[in-house]
């Protein structure tokens, strides 16, 4: 995968994950063009389109478009499953996720994505494992409970944490 974009039906960007090095200017240009192209698609059209020299896979969930740019040798159909898995993870984490959750907790959406994909590929195919890892990492942040053995040395410093 080269990049993933999440945007609303009005074209507002909610998340952008880039797995290829590009300048800020290029990213903005690509985002603008691609968002326009996808929003112009009619509902009856298929989820794939050729754009520049890439394949783009997109799917709409409620008011959010999830859009991935993949390489020519990548499997479009399984990419749809990857997108779906990410949505499921968000759903489980936030409890019936909606766009507002992602707006107000964008950093968490990134953390979840980074626990699921690395360099554009899935790290773990088990939903349970990904969610467990996020849960544990969140615990490290909050330090509300007795932290697990592997992280107990951090507990002293963590008590001075300020919430975001």
């Amino acid at each position: 995968m080269q990049f993933m974009l999440l945007f609303s039906r009005q074209g507002k960007l909610r998340l952008q994950k880039w797995y290829v090095p590009l300048s800020d200017k290029e990213k903005k240009k690509i985002t603008r063009e691609l968002v326009q192209t996808v929003l112009a698609r009619k509902p009856k059209m298929c989820s794939f389109l050729e754009w520049r020299d890439l394949k783009v896979v997109y799917k709409r969930y409620a008011s959010l478009y999830f859009c991935c740019a993949i390489e020519n040798q990548d499997n479009e159909l399984i990419t749809l499953e990857i997108i779906h898995r990410y949505v499921e993870l968000l759903d489980k984490y936030f409890g019936s996720v909606c766009e507002l959750d992602i707006i107000f907790n964008f950093e968490k959406a990134y953390f979840i994505l980074d626990e699921f994909l690395l360099g554009g590929e899935a790290q773990d195919t088990s939903k349970k494992n990904v969610l467990k890892a996020i849960e544990q990492a969140d615990l490290l942040q909050e330090c509300r409970r007795e932290p697990p053995l592997t992280v107990c040395f951090l507990s002293a410093q963590l008590t001075t944490e300020k919430p975001l």
Partner: protein
């Protein structure tokens, strides 16, 4: 100083802004606060401030002043700081800036951290945006983690290694030992990422590919277990066990089996099994079947397996899900060359897809349809494709028209069918036809000698209906000029027009707003040519002299030249054959210049009166002797100059010299020279200088 406002508070506030200006104002105010907070080196709230900055960055506002702060967060001991710091680094830094190199040391420390989640952050960041230098420095750490027994870290290290290899391919070797027992893992995460790593290595290095071929049996076994094993809640997706891993294994098998008979044979059974046993009701199953088909088609599979694969694609074409139809058409396009007959069986379904609503599906169906056209199905296929041409979106018309011309040329069952097909294209999609089609079609028509009468009659009729489509008009004008005598002489099947009617039509083209300058050139030339075929010469003379003062320079030149012919060689008017030869040569030059599309064409005639009377047999050359014709044009930097002269010492040879010069700075490649001999038989020999 009060605590900086919290992230969620800021988001809420910014969302209340009713205009872009209001939002900008809020953002600027907050940025100023954040900047002063950064200047004060506030450790407590740095994390909060950077998080806010990241939000504003997503809205499109500049956030570069936060880059160094991200580095400070990464270096902090607090987990929250590191989490936001690394996120900020991934969002704000890119490998083009030197600043990111400062991260290297932090990442190195964090890769060795005692907390796996910190190590995970470091691996993720490195694997997402590590530059070549960083990768070089840290490859050793990644390699170490690839060998750990901690599956959480091992899976991340594998994907991080993929990134390192992509950035610094020479480092691939160092990861080889660590791959030794990657596939013996039970953990699916490690398995999946290991397969990705192996795939990357095999794709990049033929040596690695050879080395890893021995893994085929193991991969086959793993795949088999996935299919045969019962329900596993952890990895189940709609009744299929770990489809992500299955797809990845299939892809690796494809690469391993590609040019190797033994490997291909070893995977034959499992591929057949997957192809027949996978549940097709959901997208997940179809994703696996799709990958299986790609693998079967790419390795050295036996024919039974290939037919199975194509049939799967055929079933895909009938699927309600348009995504499935789309991938089917894409895959069939890839295999149509190698498995032509098998794909032919699905031809009618493919042709039906021409009527699909989705643009991408239509395009693929069109490409595939052209690929399937052959001598047997040409008539039926062409009917469908012409119907498609009629009704398709403009973006398809040019490609479709070209495709039809190519197919017609290759497989036309008869000359008449061919001409009819061309006519159909010109009349329905005439304005979308490519520029080079016009000379190609003229060539085709010239060569179909027995069809000249039929062709010119049909083209004339088409002109009567519609003069807006320029390629059609140009071809028609040319034909009328060339074969006008056939048009009026009763050789046609229907009522033939009279000379004046034909001239009316051609003159109409000259004055019409719809005609482009090129088209006008064709018309004028055609009118002139008819002076040797028609008897209404006076009318033609009049038209030609009118255009001698046309605003259009090109038309003016031609008209002047033609006028000159009329005046100087009036006494030869009755020796039609000879005049025709001369005029023909001139027209060839003009037509050629037309076809080249030059817009600073300058044909020049210098004339002197003939000093001796024309003698039989050598009249043409006599004319040439006193008339030097030349023409010059420049198209896209290629300058071409023609000169016509009598050869010396052999006066029976006319020498046409063409100088082609590259006036641009760049090289010109693929310069093709084609010479057509005029209708009257002359021997043409070409010498390159």
């Amino acid at each position: 100083m009060p605590a900086p406002i919290r992230l969620r508070e800021l988001i809420r506030t910014i969302r209340t802004a009713r205009t872009q200006a209001e939002e900008r104002e809020m953002i600027q105010k907050e940025c100023a606060a954040i900047r002063s907070s950064f200047r004060e080196e506030d450790n407590t709230y740095r994390c909060r401030n950077v998080a806010k900055l990241l939000y504003m960055h997503m809205l499109g506002y500049p956030a570069h002043f936060g880059q160094l702060e991200c580095l400070k967060l990464i270096a902090s001991q607090k987990f929250t700081d590191k989490r936001i710091g690394y996120l900020g680094a991934m969002l704000l830094l890119d490998e083009r800036q030197d600043v990111h190199l400062l991260m290297t040391n932090c990442i190195k420390n964090d890769l060795n951290h005692s907390t796996q989640y910190v190590q995970g952050l470091a691996l993720c960041t490195l694997g997402c945006m590590g530059s070549s230098e960083m990768c070089r420095d840290l490859a050793g750490e990644v390699e170490k983690l690839l060998k750990t027994s901690n599956s959480y870290l091992r899976k991340k290290a594998a994907l991080c290694a993929v990134h390192v290899i992509r950035k610094v391919p020479e480092l691939m070797e160092m990861f080889l030992p660590a791959t030794k027992n990657l596939l013996s893992e039970k953990n699916h995460g490690v398995l999946h990422t290991s397969v990705v790593l192996l795939t990357e290595m095999c794709e990049r290095s033929p040596d690695m590919l050879l080395h890893f071929r021995k893994l085929v049996p193991q991969l086959v076994r793993i795949l088999k277990n996935l299919i045969m094993s019962g329900y596993s809640p952890e990895h189940d997706v709609s009744g299929i066990s770990d489809p992500f891993l299955q797809v990845r294994i299939l892809r690796l098998l494809r690469i391993l089996g590609r040019s190797d008979d033994d490997s291909s044979e070893a995977m034959n059974d499992i591929l057949a099994q997957v192809a027949t046993n996978t549940e097709t009701s959901k997208n997940v199953g179809n994703a696996i079947l799709y990958e299986t088909v790609l693998t079967i088609m790419d390795i050295k599979s036996e024919s039974g397996l290939r037919v199975l694969a194509i049939n799967i694609l055929g079933r895909f074409l009938l699927n309600n899900d348009k995504n499935i139809r789309y991938v089917a058409l894409t895959s069939l396009l890839k295999t149509v060359q190698t498995d032509h007959n098998a794909v032919q069986r699905h031809r009618s379904t493919i042709v039906d897809c021409l009527k699909d609503l989705d643009v991408s599906i239509k395009r693929r169906a069109m490409e595939l349809s052209f690929a399937l056209v052959n001598g047997n199905n040409i008539r039926g296929m062409m009917k469908e494709l012409l119907y498609f041409l009629d009704s398709c979106d403009p973006e398809f018309k040019a490609d479709c028209a070209s495709g039809v011309f190519l197919a017609a040329e290759k497989y036309a069952p008869s000359k008449r069918w061919h001409i009819d097909t061309i006519m159909r294209v010109l009349t329905t999609a005439g304005s979308y036809v490519r520029d080079d089609s016009v000379p190609n079609l003229i060539q085709l028509i010239t060569n179909s000698v027995e069809m000249h009468a039929y062709t010119v009659q049909r083209l004339y009729k088409a002109l009567l209906d519609d003069i807006s489509q320029q390629p059609l008009v140009q071809v028609s004008s040319w034909c009328i000029g060339e074969y006008g005598d056939l048009l009026v002489s009763g050789q046609c099947e229907e009522e033939e027009p009279i000379q004046d009617e034909v001239l009316d039509v051609l003159e109409g083209l000259l004055v019409s707003n719809l005609s482009t300058p090129v088209t006008r050139g064709y018309s004028l030339t055609a009118i002139m040519k008819l002076s040797t075929r028609f008897s209404s010469v006076n009318r033609i003379k009049k038209v030609v002299s009118i255009y001698g003062s046309s605003i259009d320079v090109e038309l003016q030149q031609r008209a002047v030249e033609y006028n000159a012919l009329f005046k100087k060689y009036d006494h030869m008017r009755f020796n039609l054959d000879v005049l025709y030869d001369l005029v023909s040569l001139l027209f060839q030059a003009n037509d050629l210049l037309d076809l080249l599309g030059g817009n600073d064409v300058m044909p020049v005639i210098q004339t002197t009166l003939p000093t001796k009377p024309a003698s039989a047999g050598g009249e043409l050359l006599d004319l040439l002797g006193d008339l030097s014709l030349s023409g010059r044009t420049t198209v896209n930097g290629l300058k071409i100059e023609f000169t016509f002269e009598r050869a010396n010492p052999n006066p029976n040879i006319a020498v046409i010299t063409i100088h082609a010069t590259n006036t641009t700075e760049a090289d010109m490649t693929e310069f093709v020279f084609q010479a057509a001999v005029p209708k009257v038989s002359h021997d043409l020999s070409v010498t390159f200088v």
